[in-house]
Point group: C2
């Protein structure tokens, strides 16, 4: 599988300003480092955008990941549907990811992953093609997103090539080794 041929977007819903800023930053970092193309948000603290801009600037690009602010989540979902993409919603009430992910990947290279913060509107459950659970226990949406992306990309997302990076880590058993490139 060519990971760069996949088009994976994340839609963050129910973000509450301040209260959810740090968890949403984690959602953004996971989306970026695991090779997603875009994170749609309806409401955002500008600090999150500037954190990600700064990370992209220093650590490079694998999938030209960016954050896009949208007016409402419904249009993002409906547009995705119209264009033939698949929509999955992460929830502890859904089907086990490992029972269904193969079928989803067979259906489309374009996947929109909905990640909720607070209580999610019922409509999300019915608009989604698949409600998917990473275990049926109370869990973290950050963890769930990471595992679902890992299943989609078959672990290859951990070895993505980040281009135009000013800083690059040399993996090390005991040290912090960073190679610096000045363009």
């Amino acid at each position: 599988m060519d990971i760069y041929k996949m088009n994976i977007a994340v839609l963050r819903i129910g973000h509450r300003l301040v209260r959810d800023d740090r968890t949403t930053t984690h959602v953004a970092l996971v989306s970026r480092s695991f090779g997603c193309n875009i994170l749609y948000m309806t409401d955002v603290n500008d600090d999150i955008k500037s954190t990600i801009d700064d990370v992209n600037n220093r650590w490079g690009h694998a999938s030209n990941f960016k954050i896009e602010i949208v007016k409402g989540w419904r249009n993002v979902i409906l547009n995705w549907k119209k264009n033939g993409g698949v929509i999955i919603h992460l929830t502890m009430y859904g089907l086990n990811v490992d029972d269904i992910i193969g079928k989803i990947k067979d259906n489309s290279n374009d996947i929109l992953i909905i990640v909720g913060a607070e209580k999610v509107p019922k409509e999300i459950y019915t608009l989604s093609d698949y409600n998917i659970a990473v275990g049926n226990q109370p869990h973290s949406e950050i963890s769930s997103l990471a595992i679902v992306l890992d299943r989609i990309f078959e672990g290859k997302q951990l070895k993505l090539n980040f281009e135009s990076a000013k800083m690059k880590i040399i993996p090390s058993l005991r040290e912090k080794l960073v190679e610096k490139n000045y363009f």
Copy 2:
């Protein structure tokens, strides 16, 4: 592999009260739902403990997961070493998890996973047997913990049996289905 024979503990360091409460709650939820036995913390908001107690009470037990408050992180690490367990520290500067996890699992069933919040003391890098990265990009410690546990348990953690649960989810494509047991 019998997932119940593994003894996996998580040590949360550098937790800053209030600021890190929500991310640490996510660390606790991942630890519990993915079959860890214990989460050691040096500083804790009692709300996190009561959240987990409440979750255990309603959703049952797979590994008798609990949170233990300790005076300092150094003794936890030294005791773990003394008893022959393996210590891994999650950091973006470490070796790629997929290059090293097989060797770690061959060495021991007792694994302590160190998860940092803010800047981690240098000593953690040298006291650990393995510094491990889930990709060498800025990322979320919650995501990293989830992926490392997934690699340790080979995905079987998503089908753990939670006993004595008052509530149990029936996985569903579009609905919220919950079975309630009253003891």
